[in-house]
């Protein structure tokens, strides 16, 4: 079936959260029988747009039409009735039920008032065979890989309503052959005339399967493109907010030491963790600021976590100052002088109900152990010093940290680690969700730390700030390290090319 008429149009959709615009005047069009990629970096508004479309969130202005008819979805159920189904990355099925039941839950075929298992199994089997999936539909879902579970979710979505199918990052946890299988199913559904919205951050996949691409950035529509007319580098540039043609060479600040003979602090050989990050080699020397670049989900955070021991590596080895490190728990890493600022500040960083003081001294205290409590005076002194250095704004040092703004919370976590005087810092998105001023402060801090002789790994989704601070860049794609750039090679163009991969012409 060829690409048909428009089945879904979203026109001038706007939505804000607490006064912050999440979407402003976004247009989106989906045609029958096409696979349409929705792309954008963190905070671009992809997920908000999907939520608005599925009725999980209300929109403030604009219009949604299905096959020309205006609709309003108040809940995902209502969206489903209107023909819009969603399959999320987190599979929303019941792992304890059989495949067939997951397909028919809530609408099981009945005979004489009782569930007719025979018919249900038969129908389920037929449904899966039509998609060329051969599985035992009577077996429980948790016997199957995530890929199959995803396909079951798709089958359910398609079986209930069949005009618009939204796939929200379905491939993040699938391997290559599983992705291939998923794609063949997507092609099949496309032939049946479905419109598929494919949310992903894997550029390769977009070029493999999609017909058109819509790019969002900062809640605004950047543009809608035919896949054939948009080179990869251009796509990356549009997502990151840089017009590629207009790229001027941004001069990198003198960051870190340029000496080649600086002592190696961290040396990773073939370190990896199955399902998270493929084995990689990495050397970090004193005074290095190493940027890890890559799109969201490229394995950049996972790489950091594996080094710290937050996720236990299952291959390779890690050396620090030429001594083999055996990290069994984060405490071992802390003791060897590694600091880790996690990406998810709220869930993994701050301890919300504890005071600023307690949050700041926590890591040092953990390192010292239970019995060597830092004196009250000492704690207050440390807190005051770092509140001063980092300009942490809080009503007082005993205020619960959850009352602070995001930027200040982040500074508290930073202060926590600086207090332990680490040799090696891993900072995963330290500047996310905080204001420009604070961002600059943190960047300056990173450069200064390197000057003091510390080694730093800095992860950010904003290339520009990494250009400014890093002396080496590691590029990640599809869970593996695909390149390393140093000094003069670090240009926006090179980085984007490396991220985009393929023949980035």
């Amino acid at each position: 079936m060829k690409i048909g008429g428009e089945i879904l149009t979203m026109h001038h959709i706007s939505k804000s959260f607490l006064g912050v615009k999440a979407l402003s005047n976004v247009d989106f069009t989906l045609r029958a029988g096409e696979i349409h990629a929705l792309m954008g970096e963190n905070g671009a508004g992809k997920s908000t747009l999907i939520k608005v479309l599925t009725g999980a969130e209300e929109f403030e202005s604009g219009e949604i039409r299905i096959a020309g008819k205006p609709i309003i979805n108040r809940s995902p159920q209502e969206a489903q009735l209107n023909g819009i189904s969603t399959v999320y990355q987190e599979i929303n099925l019941c792992p304890n039920l059989s495949v067939a039941e997951n397909l028919f839950l809530g609408r099981q075929p009945q005979k004489h008032g009782a569930i007719d298992w025979k018919t249900m199994y038969k129908k389920a089997k037929e449904a899966f065979e039509a998609l060329d999936i051969n599985i035992d539909v009577t077996s429980t879902l948790d016997n199957y890989s995530l890929a199959i579970q995803q396909m079951v979710a798709i089958a359910r979505a398609v079986d209930i309503s069949s005009r618009v199918l939204i796939l929200d990052e379905p491939t993040s946890s699938l391997d290559d052959s599983e992705v291939e299988k998923l794609f063949s199913i997507m092609r099949k559904l496309k032939e049946c005339g479905l419109g598929i919205i494919f949310v992903t951050h894997f550029i390769e996949q977009v070029y493999k399967i999609c017909d058109r691409i819509t790019v969002l950035r900062n809640g605004e529509l950047v543009g809608e493109y035919e896949v054939g007319n948009l080179p990869r580098v251009q796509l990356v540039a549009r997502m990151m907010g840089k017009d590629f043609e207009g790229l001027a060479e941004i001069k990198r600040h003198e960051a870190g030491t340029e000496e080649d003979n600086a002592a190696t602090v961290i040396e990773a050989r073939g370190l990896g963790c199955t399902g998270k990050v493929k084995p990689f080699d990495l050397n970090v020397s004193k005074g290095d600021v190493i940027g890890i670049s890559g799109l969201l989900g490229s394995g950049r955070s996972e790489l950091a976590r594996v080094i710290y021991g937050a996720d236990k590596p299952d291959t390779g080895e890690l050396k620090m100052n030429d001594k083999k490190l055996d990290i069994r728990a984060p405490l071992d890493a802390v003791r060897s002088g590694i600091a880790f600022l996690p990406e998810n500040r709220k869930e993994e960083g701050v301890i919300g109900d504890l005071s600023v003081r307690e949050n700041i001294v926590l890591a040092l205290q953990a390192r010292k152990g239970i019995f060597r409590l830092l004196g009250k005076k000492e704690q207050e002194e440390f807190t005051d010093r770092y509140m001063d250095i980092l300009k942490i704004k809080a009503s007082d040092r005993e205020a619960p940290v959850k009352r602070l703004s995001g930027g200040n919370q982040q500074k508290v976590v930073l202060a926590r680690w600086l207090l332990t005087n680490p040799d090696f810092l891993i900072l995963d998105e330290p500047t996310r969700g905080i204001d420009i001023g604070t961002k600059n402060e943190i960047q300056r801090l990173i450069v200064n730390l390197a000057k003091e002789g510390k080694a730093v790994i800095f992860i950010s989704s904003e290339i520009e700030e990494m250009l400014r601070t890093c002396n080496r860049m590691v590029v990640m794609r599809d869970s593996s390290k695909v390149g390393e750039l140093s000094n003069n090679e670090i240009t926006q163009e090179n980085i984007m090319k490396a991220i985009a991969g393929g023949n980035a012409s």
Partner: protein, 350 residues
Amino acid sequence: MKKSNIKSKHIINHPLFLPLVCLLLVLIVNLIQTPSFFKITIQNGVLYGFIIDIINRSSGLIIMAVGMTLVVASSGGTDISVGAVSALAGAVCVAVLGTGESYRMPYIISLLLPLIAGMVCGAFNGFLVSYMRVQPMVATLILFTAGRGIAQLITGSFILYVKPVQFQYLGSFLPNVPIPTPCFVATFVILITWLTLKYTSLNMFIQSVGINPKASHLVGLNSKMITFFTYVFCSVCAAGAGLISVSRTASIDANNVGLNVELDAILAVAIGGNSLSGGKFSLFGSVIGAITIQALTTTLYAMHVSADQLPLYKAIVVIIIVALQSPEPKRWYYMIKSGISSGRSAREAN
């Protein structure tokens, strides 16, 4: 004027404000009922009066509440085996001393062995909760029933009496001391716990693990060990309370030592202003809570409620406190409020 306002707000926001108000309320009710409530006299060389009685009888509960506070703080769950563990400890104690005219073994062993037994029980609970990831209540449910069973086996299902009169010193009065011994023990436990929390980093670690176990782990805390420790400590406290209870009556009745006390201990923690979902805690809040409950119990006894009937009223109090702590009523309140206002704004828009 404004300054006093701020000051009063400060008092109201103090974590111990509500527990103290609760205690005061119960005491006032008592005072109205029995005008001689606050009267303290000296009879036979010891202090005597309602207040003394309440403090004396609440000692065991205070000790348990101290342990329970830490369990709740670190794991967001409760230990319902405390009553059974105290019965078990009591049984061990009596079994050590025997029922003869003199002790069978040195007295000190009769203190140490039960506490070690408590430690073993706590280690079992803690192992299930922190290393096997079993929900706290289910994990402790096992000892909740089996603990009493083991106690029955030790005593051979008999009520055993310890004859030497010195045995009662722990549960009643030391010679020539007018203040009941349990008060000293309770004070001792509170002090030791308080000092430990003050002079080690356990206070911060327990709260941190209770609030955000993931972040705590990443910062380098051994979350499992800390939770494990609180369960061991809680059971040792329960064993201590069991010893007092056995000494009080100079006998062990494995069916009745620490009966229904698990509810009291949980209630003490909740009345003390501590959230049952873990995190921040106030040791003294729980102590006040324990005294409040004993005062409440005394009041109910005075109203001719039998011991067996007490749980009925306490259960209602528990459910009210827990319901008030839960976010759901607040959400409803805001939903109704915003529903009204948004309805209004919609009408205005029309």
